[in-house]
């Protein structure tokens, strides 16, 4: 058990380190002139370029730069910036050249919006997915089953951003059925109504996969002997399905959910762009539009860290539940 956890932990750490190194190399050794790439203005003056180079420490050798960046991540560092020195505290990911604020501060201020969005989506996704999946499994082979499963297949196959865009245009802009997203700085209570539309559409589209998982998982557990025993004892069909079969069917669904939350957190990019939600996704897209590379790099690293951590948690939690995992 301990060996498995240690091995898994080692993998997570090496993957994270490799992400850091490759992101750093891509960023600092990639383009012909990083200062040019980072310059927020269209035509960059020589003085501005020199200032950016100095603040990035680009005149120093690459390993020294990396050591500095690495140190900044754990203990913080001082960044020379426009004449004076700014202290960038612990998870230091550099400075945004557009807002002159530390990247980590920018990212953490956008975090709540993305987390709220993801949390609501998970609730809608699991409720709708499991309900429809269970319903389809109890009526398997009928017309209703085919409509539910076929419908979820079609719905899930259309590119998500197209569905989300059309939904957003009709519900929040064209007809104003649902409120448009506000800013989270107005307070969480004012912010939540604007999330209803993205919760619905992203939740429903993500639920299509769960519908099929749940149906298959339910069909497996409904064919088990203990379900037959429960039925032969005269327990009502509702209880047989809801209590006996569903409980066993849920465990694989929970595993997939753990892996999906990480993907959802990083995959809210499109949703945030379409519904104009001030989350991490929109932050990185705005940064892309303005070539603010430190922000983009920071969001990549933070998201990768979330994905790696979630995978690790799911794997370790699963190894407690299912001992076979440890052997492979």
């Amino acid at each position: 058990m301990l060996t498995y956890i240690l091995r898994r932990l080692g993998l997570a750490i090496t993957v994270m380190l490799a992400t850091l190194v490759s992101a750093f190399l891509l960023f600092f050794a990639g383009p012909a002139d990083p200062a040019q790439a980072m310059c927020p203005e269209q035509k960059c003056t020589a003085a501005r370029l020199a200032q950016i180079r100095e603040s990035l420490g680009l005149d120093r050798p690459l390993p020294v730069q990396f050591a500095e960046y690495f140190k900044g991540l754990f203990v913080g560092r001082d960044i020379p910036f426009g004449g004076d020195t700014i202290h960038c505290s612990a998870p230091c990911l550099g400075m945004s050249f557009l807002t002159n604020r530390p990247v980590s501060e920018e990212i953490f201020s956008r975090f709540p919006a993305t987390v709220l969005l993801t949390a609501g989506v998970v609730v809608v996704m699991v409720t709708v997915g499991v309900t429809i999946g269970v319903l389809a499994s109890t009526v398997r082979g009928t017309a209703l089953d085919r409509i539910l499963i076929g419908g979820s297949q079609v719905f899930g196959a259309i590119p998500y951003y197209v569905l989300a865009l059309i939904f957003a245009l009709y519900t929040t802009r064209f007809y104003s059925i649902l409120p448009q997203a506000g800013s989270i700085s107005d307070g969480v209570i004012q912010f939540l109504p604007g999330l209803i539309a993205p919760w619905i559409i992203l939740g429903l589209v993500s639920a299509t996969g769960y519908t099929r998982y749940t149906r298959n998982s339910m069909l497996d557990s409904l064919s088990m002997d203990y379900v037959r025993t429960a039925r032969s004892k005269g327990i009502s069909e509702r209880k047989v399905v809801g209590k006996h079969a569903l409980r066993a069917a849920l465990s694989p669904i929970v595993t997939i959910l753990g892996l999906d939350i990480a993907a959802l957190l990083s995959g809210t990019l499109v949703t945030e762009r379409i519904f104009e939600i001030d989350g991490i996704g929109k932050l990185s897209l705005d940064a892309l539009g303005r070539d603010d590379l430190p922000i983009i790099l920071g969001t990549v690293l933070v998201t990768a860290a979330i994905v790696v951590t979630m995978n690790l948690i799911v794997d370790i939690a699963y190894s407690f539940v299912d001992p076979r995992v440890r052997l492979s």
């Binding site: 993998l11 090496t14 993957v15 490799a18 992400t19 992101a23 891509l26 960023f27 990639g30 383009p31 012909a32 002139d33 040019q36 790439a37 398997r140 082979g141 297949q153 079609v154 196959a157 259309i158 590119p159 998500y160 951003y161 197209v162 865009l165 059309i166 245009l169 802009r173 064209f174 409904l222 064919s223 379900v227 037959r228 039925r231 069909e237 047989v240 990083s266 995959g267 990019l269 499109v270 762009r273 990185s284 897209l285 892309l288 539009g289 070539d291 590379l293 983009i296 790099l297 969001t299 990549v300 998201t303 990768a304 994905v307 790696v308 995978n311």
Partner: protein, 346 residues
């Protein structure tokens, strides 16, 4: 007993299964020696969904191939005096607010673009090209890489296998969309975009860059699948026999093991195509994909969304195009998977 709905259904099913098993025995006698590929092909031809989806996909492929011909079917525009062209800008076709002066005409079947007056029908037909090329080329390349990595890792084992598995884990933990968005401007600068290059050259760089990034982030799933299969095939008698008589490793891999994996490889490739097309359209929509002047459905959707209320004709054709194409390819992929899977019963 019949009051319990599940049991009645179960008995019926058992009876049906027994019949099916008998029938399949009879069939086996007549159809000895058919490959899994042939069986899948037979099943696929009988699948109505697959047939309809193939027709839809074929329609889009024809649209893409004959885009210039289709565009030239439109009549000469009385205002500009020339036939429509996907790249020609005609500000004289729009009014001062940027709205087209006329809607659907015989010279512009889908109207003209708001603001700069490019022909939307031409943009639409040419827009099918990058989607299909990116989808199929990226799927082909990532399949080749995934199969090779899986074969080599699974067959050789040891350090090489662990290294490949680690790379797979590494790529799987990167947030794909974000990394592509971050990498695109940097790599583009490396090739000198935005400097001396023309818009067409930049657009071309983007095109191949997207294919490369999709391949780099797309081969891992198949590599894992193939590796798993190879690890079990490696121990089978026919492979050991081949090794025992001194068949070279390359031959064992590609002539002995690979033919057994045709099913999963075809399935994985057919599911990859719509995924890549969606990824390209999403990237173009987000501003990290194809750039002007290449006609792309994703870009048109991004441009048209803000004028949706006043000019919906701009948005709908690319939306319908991408949705229908991806839907047909996905459902076709599902059908192909079912056709190769002996356990599916519809």
């Amino acid at each position: 007993m019949s009051t319990v709905p599940g049991l009645g259904a179960e008995t019926e099913e058992l009876a049906r299964e027994a019949e099916e098993a008998e029938a399949s025995h009879e069939r086996d006698d007549q159809r000895a020696g058919r490959s899994p590929g042939q069986i899948a092909w037979e099943r696929l031809k009988k699948d109505k969904v697959a047939v309809v989806c193939s027709i839809v996909v074929l329609f889009f492929i024809l649209v893409a191939i004959f885009a210039p011909l289709l565009t030239s079917l439109q009549t000469v525009d009385p205002v500009t005096g020339v036939k429509a062209d996907p790249y020609a800008v005609h500000p004289e076709l729009v009014d001062l607010n940027g709205f087209p002066k006329e809607g659907i005409t015989s010279s512009h079947w889908l109207g003209v673009e708001k603001g700069i007056g490019r022909d939307l029908f031409a943009r639409w037909t040419y827009g099918a090209r990058p989607s299909l090329i990116i989808g199929f080329v990226a799927a082909a390349l990532s399949t080749v890489i995934g199969v090779t990595m899986g074969l080599v890792g699974g067959y050789l084992g040891g350090v090489i296998d662990r290294a490949i598995s680690w790379v797979v884990d590494f790529f799987l933990s990167l947030p794909f969309l974000l990394v592509v968005i971050a990498a695109t401007p940097i790599i583009e600068l490396r090739f000198g975009a935005r400097g001396s290059l023309t818009a067409e050259q930049t657009s071309n760089i983007r095109f191949w860059l997207i294919i490369s990034l999709l391949v780099i982030f797309g081969w891992m799933g198949l590599a894992r699948l193939v590796r798993g299969e190879v690890v079990s095939l490696r121990e089978r008698e026919f492979v050991q026999a081949a090794r025992a008589i001194g068949v070279p490793t390359r031959h064992v891999l590609f002539k002995e093991i690979l033919p057994n994996l045709v099913g999963p490889i075809i399935v994985s490739a057919s599911i990859a195509v719509p995924a890549y097309i969606t990824a390209e359209a999403t990237l173009s929509f987000l501003g990290a994909g194809l750039v002007e002047p290449t006609a792309s459905w994703g870009r048109t959707i991004a441009d048209a969304q803000n004028s949706f209320q006043s000019y919906p004709l701009w948005l709908w054709p690319p939306v319908i195009g991408i949705s229908l194409l991806v839907l047909a390819l996905s459902l076709l992929g599902d059908s192909i998977r079912d056709a190769f899977d002996p356990t599916t019963r519809r």
